[in-house]
């Protein structure tokens, strides 16, 4: 089954207790014969994997990077499903750090 690697930093790492996690993509649907996941659906999937944590709130305030490149906020682009994960990607959760 295709998987993606999720990298957690700062608040996301504190919430999950993880720095990295392998995530199997959901099984293929009828309309699509290969496993794939729109990036815009990843937050819900990850939050469901870590119930009882603040991950959902952290993700709402974070940005995504896919394969070492930032992605425009899925909520702010016209087609929220435009970035699609097909397996093998490395997805990083980037949240602002403010201390100093």
């Amino acid at each position: 089954m295709p998987t993606i690697t999720v990298l957690y930093f700062a608040a996301a790492s504190t919430a999950t207790g993880l720095t990295t996690e392998e995530l199997p993509l959901p099984a293929p649907s009828e309309s699509d014969n290969a496993s794939c996941l729109p990036l815009s659906a990843l937050a819900d999937l990850l939050a469901a994997r870590h119930p009882g944590t603040k991950l959902r709130e952290v993700l709402a305030q974070s940005q995504w990077a896919v394969d070492e490149e930032m992605v425009d906020d899925p909520a702010q682009v016209d087609d929220p499903a435009q970035v699609v994960l097909r397996g093998g990607e490395e997805v990083a959760v980037i949240c602002p750090v403010s201390g100093g």
Partner: protein
Amino acid sequence: MSTSSSVEPQPQLPLADYRRYGRQMILDGFGLEGQIELQKASVVVVGAGGLGCPALQYLAAAGVGTLGIIDHDHVEISNLQRQVLHTESRVGMPKVLSAAEAIKQMNSRVRVNPVTTALNSTNALELLAPYDLILDCTDNLPTRYLLSDTAVKLGKPLVSGAAQQFEGQLCTYNLPLKNSSQDQLQERGPCFRCLFPKPPAPEMAGSCEELGILGAVTGVIGNLQALEAIKILTGLHDGKPSLLMFSALSAPPFRSVKLRPRRASCPACGVEGEKIGKIEETDYVAFCGGERPDWVSRGLVVEDPQKRIHAKELKNALENPQRMVKILDVRPRTEFGICHLPGSTNIPIKELLTNPRQFAEGLQREEETDVYVVCRLGNDSQLAVDALREVSKTVVLKDLVGGLRAWSKEVDSNFPIY
């Protein structure tokens, strides 16, 4: 024949500087020109704390001509584990003056402009305008947004560092791009607002005091900020905007992501006509969700005397017990391990709030027992009492006003304050 004619090019730096900066001047790509650029340059460092100290240290040592330092705090003993320009003898002194003193001892020719006023939206433009480059070494989000917006208005690069616990970030916002095309959007990299249009809620953005920070971590990021500034000033920067994340306990500890171009819709640096929202007259503190809570003061507020006990009363209750007494310490395990009251039981607040009923059942079996809840400052202990009262019949269930810090101040000065 004069000595000056026996050397070409004509010396453009004081003779002593050739010896002093020779180790960096012989670097390919740096050279005499690099040193002259640094000598001519002016950099303003906002925040003379964990990031600002190492940044200033390396900028001064490298021979940056003028350094502005802006900070309104005073040196405290708890700063010294990471704010390496300050010293025991300068505790209580304004941080900018302490840093200026340290720089003077290190490199007397650097011109230092210390500013003890707090940076705000009315003075930011004026205070930052004289400099070529801005370093964000601050510890709070409102100032980070203010610095970003101001850097955009002034058209100056903003080298931003941040650190918390074992992690840090480095990013240069508004970076001048190399080989930029005619497209106006391409001339500068994105700003902080492009990356993080919405600030996180204040409770998600804790401080070093609440969350902790390792000094060597701020040292890594502060050094990288100095390096980034030197690269930009001497033309060694590749002009490609990226965000570097440092995680001391991960392997590999450094990861870098490429940034997207500026957002055309960014209210700060976007394209006129396409901007969404306005930043004029922004109240930055309100934008970031309000003032950061003052946990020390909040922990001292007594609204319902039935729910709280003062340190001296608790001491009496422990010394002259009418009934069984139990002390519940709701701090995280690590903090409990630093110091705790003898005989106290540790149930971290996170665990207690997840399932108060489970812990209340333990208390119910001891109905003859008075329960006192303690924490560091007296805030989490109030949450614990409220949660336990909802599910417990324990008659006396109170928390310690001002927490263990008050215990140390009012009852036992040998109890550590941290």
